[in-house]
Symmetry: C2
Subunit: 360 residues, 2 copies
């Protein structure tokens, strides 16, 4: 997942302060302790990685949906095993992150037991960065693959109007002596939440990634009505096709709606979204190279770093940003600071304080 | 997979004539009947789809490798089940298409039995278009996912020299009343075999997809030393990361070499390539939307066709070309016609005759 630029007027907040604040807000809306900690922790982890499109900046939206009744703070999540290696997890309109972590843990347990797992999620909501789940499997020595979908945001190749979601994929492998190697990408050039952040902060979008209501390219976040698929003008059929396959895996396969049938993330806030996800977890030890896999990946990383241009492994930029932000704080932009203040007041929760203000 | 332009001086050959010719050539090199039919049939099927980079044009190369001893015409393929849903298939340096069909059939059988299968392939060779395998699973009502890798051809994002393969992915779903919907794409903008065909026919490459020995962009197929990852300059980190994950799934996970460790496809013809592949097959009936999946996909296709620009489903272009080529023949370009003539003479096999020559 690409790291996003941060506005100059952002202020740094410690991960811990945001985690405590986020969990308190969720608890104030009757989310149980463990789910509140898990969701706030996952959002802040995502912010630490530098993926601000899916970090703590999304919490106000989750709170808003709980307040409007379209996310249930205390869902009755059910897991149905349909065979030795498959399960369907029904999220009962819960917080997508809590539902998805539960489904992913089931996939991890199945993969340990039977070598591979395929677990589908139905009736859930926005699950955040799918890299959370793939990395969780990889940290336990397994190969994690995670997918989700969304309401219509991406124009299909050959079309000009939003139809599919930005439908991301994440794949992570364990790596010797370090954090997993991890792909985590939207199948559009940029994720929709980057448009939302650009709107909030009044920033432009890069060229060639978005179209307006007429289907013409635009860099104006306010005018943006659809994102273009990964691959651009010449090869957008690839990003589009990948997005469509992910739509089928997460939507129709689990009995969920697809693209245009899904309620919009930031509108119709009382309408449940019935979002799906799909997790595949593989135990490398069932394959010939399993015992040496993590070491071979480290060897590959070393060989890659010695190439001209010193290319880096997918996931390494996030690890580097996390180290930096753990020390110097997570930058929070003015628009988000306002939202944090508003929700703190509304829920009677102590607002987090920026690091430099603390030191002042 | 993108359909490729055909030179004006190509002549049409019937699929049947090319299939008969291909199987005869393989038998002449001691490939058993069933494998010869399967490989020739798969190559011609790929040509029918319009994927000329992976069609019958690759047979001379397979023949050349058998003749040089680096592909075994009669391998001892072994299948080791490592659990209820996983297997390792050792190809014993056989023809990649024969080995991969065998592995994919095992994955299909496992998925039917236990809901999902993950099957890795080791010590094989070029397996052709991965869409062959994903579609084969989807034609049986299952979800097929197929990956393979290759020797170093693609420059990593941030680098300028080839390191990874073009590492394709295919995903196919069953569709009511028709051929499967199917993604089949290289994770570079174009596949390497399109460079080989352009060299053979003296044609240029599109802009922005290839670099020369200095790492600078080129459209000259002869000068091309590495392909750029899907996503181009701004978003090539995505195509690169996807390629790297596929490399790990197909290479190190199965005990095979990776990128720079793999012998080049068209050089060192006596050196076995130890190429891998990876197949995941999922039974939709284990998930909540399984019973209605194929019908929902057809419904989605109809909704999509009604959108501005009438976008089409992935895989539909290939189906359309196949209908056209089944009737009017597969276009064979002059360079390939020469290779066909040479191999026919060398192996004492009757050369196929172009359709318009037959009618003359």
């Amino acid at each position: 997942m690409s790291l996003q630029p941060v506005a100059a007027d952002a202020l740094p907040y410690s991960a811990e302060s945001l985690r405590v604040w986020g969990a308190a807000c969720l608890r104030a809306l009757k989310v149980p302790d463990d789910a509140a900690e898990e969701v706030a922790g996952s959002l802040v982890q995502t912010s630490l990685w530098g993926i601000d499109s899916h970090g703590i900046g999304r919490l106000p939206h989750y709170l808003n949906r709980i307040a409007h009744g379209s996310i249930r703070p205390q869902p009755s999540i059910t897991i149905t095993r349909s065979g030795p290696s498959t399960a369907q997890v029904d999220g009962d309109q819960g917080l997508g992150m809590a539902v998805s972590h539960r489904a992913n843990r089931e996939a991890i347990a199945i993969a340990r037991e039977n070598g591979v797992a395929a677990v589908g999620v139905s009736d859930s909501s926005h699950c955040g960065a799918v890299g959370l789940y793939a990395r969780a499997a990889a940290r336990q020595g397994l190969i994690g693959i995670a997918f989700t979908h969304s309401d219509k945001i991406a124009a299909p190749h050959g079309g000009s109007r939003a139809f599919l979601g930005t439908n991301p994929i994440s794949i992570a492998f364990p790596r010797a002596n370090g954090e997993p190697v991890c792909l985590d990408m939207a199948t559009t050039s940029i994720p929709w939440n980057r448009v939302m952040n650009a709107r909030r902060e009044g920033l432009p979008l890069p060229a060639g990634v978005a179209v307006d209501v007429t289907g013409r390219e635009t860099t104006n976040a306010d005018d943006t009505r659809a994102l273009q698929p990964l691959g651009g003008e010449g090869y957008g059929h690839k990003g589009y096709a990948l997005a469509l396959m992910i739509e089928l895996l997460c939507g129709p396969l689990n009995g969920n709606p697809f693209g245009p049938q899904i309620g919009p993330m930031y509108e119709e806030l009382t309408r449940p979204r019935h979002i799906g996800a799909f997790f595949i977890v593989i135990d490398p030890q069932r394959f010939a190279g399993g015992p040496t896999l993590a070491a071979t990946i480290e060897h590959l990383a070393t060989a890659l770093a010695a190439e001209p241009g010193s290319p880096i492994m997918p996931g390494d930029p996030e690890i580097k940003v996390a180290a930096e932000r753990s020390q110097h704080g997570i930058p929070i932009e003015p628009g988000l600071r306002e939202q944090i203040a508003e929700w703190s007041e509304r829920l009677g929760v102590a607002a987090p304080v920026a690091m430099d203000q603390t030191q002042a």
